[in-house]
């Protein structure tokens, strides 16, 4: 396994209020090249998991092992290697790019920080190359994020993460803030990248439908606990837990017949 999350617990305290436990013994693992979906509603602890995965927060107990290294204890050179090999794409395409940096600076920052390309000219080449890969025009690298649409910003964010050649990409609701018509652009891009680069993806979402098209296996979270986990087919075709079933049943379907029928059935039940 590339990444193993083993029974992590985490709580937030805001004295004088009693501490609130947000994660209870959460465990899952990720194989190289695998796409894993973490699905949960608000309050399910999925953002906290992302923070722990990215070593931005440390779990109180349990461990997160990446390639043999304990993520929450990693320091110095070890942490730097982790930072190069595990990257992240954030939810809000408007807030996740520093507004005062050009696209070239934004995408090239990882190359600079990890000293992957010593010269500015080589860095520019690499930036142009990755921009083409994610479907951006390299001529736009001198521009600033504010002149791009939401979908394009998410492409910039993906390019920024991928340029240093990570092995895992953690995506925290990367399409939740996008319009429906462009959501699919980003999901398709992630899928292409996963296949082309052999990338492992942790895809965090509140929407099961989005996850279905990208992830091989799925972990369903509810109030900080893993409710159900398994391969895609199991979760979607044969959900065992009532919570998973309820989640599936609530996803809207773009078909008036099905939608109406579902609503009427529920009226009969209640």
């Amino acid at each position: 396994m590339l990444l193993t999350v083993d029974r992590i617990n985490k709580s937030y305290s805001s004295f004088p209020n009693p501490p609130v436990q947000v994660l209870h013994d959460v465990s899952f693992s990720l194989a190289p090249g695998q796409a894993l979906g973490l699905v949960g509603e608000s309050g399910s602890g999925k953002s906290t998991i992302a923070k722990c995965l990215m070593a931005l927060a440390a779990p109180e107990s349990g461990s997160i092992l990446y390639d043999g290294m304990d993520v929450s204890k990693a320091r110095g050179a070890e942490l730097l290697r982790f930072r190069r090999e595990v990257q992240m794409v954030f939810q809000d395409p408007y807030g996740s790019l520093n507004p005062r940096m050009s696209v070239e600076e934004l995408i090239g920052e990882g190359l600079l920080v990890h000293k992957l390309e010593p010269t500015a000219a080589r860095r520019r080449e690499r930036v142009a190359e990755i921009m083409r890969t994610v479907g951006l025009n390299p001529d736009d690298m001198v521009r600033f994020p504010r002149s791009f649409s939401g979908g394009q910003r998410q492409r910039i964010a993906i390019a920024r993460a991928l340029v240093i050649g990570p092995r895992i990409l953690v995506c925290d609701e990367p399409v939740a803030a996008l319009d429906v018509s462009v959501q699919a652009q980003v999901i398709n891009l992630l899928r292409d990248m996963q296949r082309k680069l052999g990338l492992a993806i942790v895809f965090i979402a509140h929407d099961l439908a989005v996850v279905r098209h990208l992830c091989d296996s799925i972990v369903v979270l509810h109030k900080g606990r893993v409710v159900e986990a398994g391969p895609r087919a199991d979760i979607f075709e044969r959900p065992r837990e009532a919570y998973t079933q309820a989640l599936l049943a609530a996803v809207p379907v773009p078909d008036p017949e099905i939608g109406r029928a579902r609503r009427e059935r529920r009226h009969v039940l209640t």
Partner: protein, 285 residues
């Protein structure tokens, strides 16, 4: 894969044209700055000597703002005093801004306990009326312009520190800062490249207003007698010296006071202009 060019998206923010009023304010500020820089070179030497025969003369073609009790030309003394007043105010604001920025940055970047300690220190500074504390310091160090400047510099920083630290904390909550951390940037690069540039512009707005305010406080301290001492042409000290002549020679009091007021107002308005340009909704219309 298709290549998408950045065609749409948010428009560049439109530049607001300067209104005649705004232009007037900026010209006024420039005139004041010019007076402060070059004024003393043009001022006649007579403003430093006393000429009792010519004392308390009303405004005339020879003495535009009249003369004071020592027969010195009020207008040229004000021009000469502009340097003292403005230079001191710039010095004070620069000094306490440096202190404020340092404290805010350390608090925002540092561990929780340090942040807490520095912010409590700032709370103390904010709770105490700065003019009174400055008065105490200046009085203790022995009344002089230098004492007043030092006293104002060590009492002025808390508002800057509090404001900036709040904004920096807010900036640090934003996703692009988390993004930079995830990328593995150093603490130093995080603060200087990501957090500070996105937090500092609020200080630019504050700066002009602070200058205006400092001009006022400096004049006040000098008036009480803990700032510049007569015969310095500093405006507050000039008013203090001329206090007794309000009824007999109004110009000796009104003119230097007007100079303080105009300078303070001009910088205050400059601050307003900058602020409205950043957030047009504050200006109305």
């Amino acid at each position: 894969m298709t290549t998408v060019s950045a065609m749409s998206g948010a428009p560049r923010r439109r530049r607001l044209a300067l209104s005649p009023f705004d232009t007037a304010v900026i010209v006024l500020v420039c005139v004041l700055l010019l007076a402060a820089v070059f004024g003393p070179f043009f001022a006649p030497d007579s403003i430093y000597t006393s000429d009792i025969a010519n004392s308390l003369m009303p405004p005339s073609a020879a003495n535009w703002f009249g003369t004071d009790d020592q027969g010195r030309d009020v207008f040229w003394r004000l021009v000469a005093g502009a340097r003292t007043t403005l230079l001191s105010s710039f010095l004070v604001v620069t000094l306490y801004s440096l202190i404020g920025v340092t404290i805010a940055t350390v608090a925002a970047a540092g561990p929780r306990w340090l942040d807490e300690a520095l912010m409590r220190l700032t709370d103390i500074g904010l709770a105490l009326p700065s003019m009174i504390v400055a008065l105490g310091f200046a009085a203790a160090m022995g009344p002089s312009l230098k004492s007043a400047i030092i006293a104002m510099a060590i009492t002025g920083w808390p508002t800057t520190a509090r404001l900036l630290r709040g904004i920096m904390r807010q900036t640090m909550e934003s996703q692009f800062v988390a993004g930079a951390q995830v990328l593995g940037v150093s603490r130093w690069r995080l603060m200087t490249k990501h957090v500070l540039p996105n937090s500092l512009d609020v200080l630019i707005v504050k700066w002009a207003g602070d200058i205006g305010n400092t001009v006022l406080v400096l004049a006040s301290l000098s008036f009480i007698g803990v700032g510049a001492q007569p015969p310095s042409p500093e405006w507050g000290a000039t008013i203090a010296g001329a206090r007794g002549y309000v009824s007999t020679a109004w110009w000796t009091v009104v003119m230097p006071g007007a100079a303080v007021a105009i300078t303070s107002i001009a910088f205050g308005l400059l601050g307003d202009i900058i602020q409205v340009r950043r957030d047009p909704s504050l200006g109305g219309n």
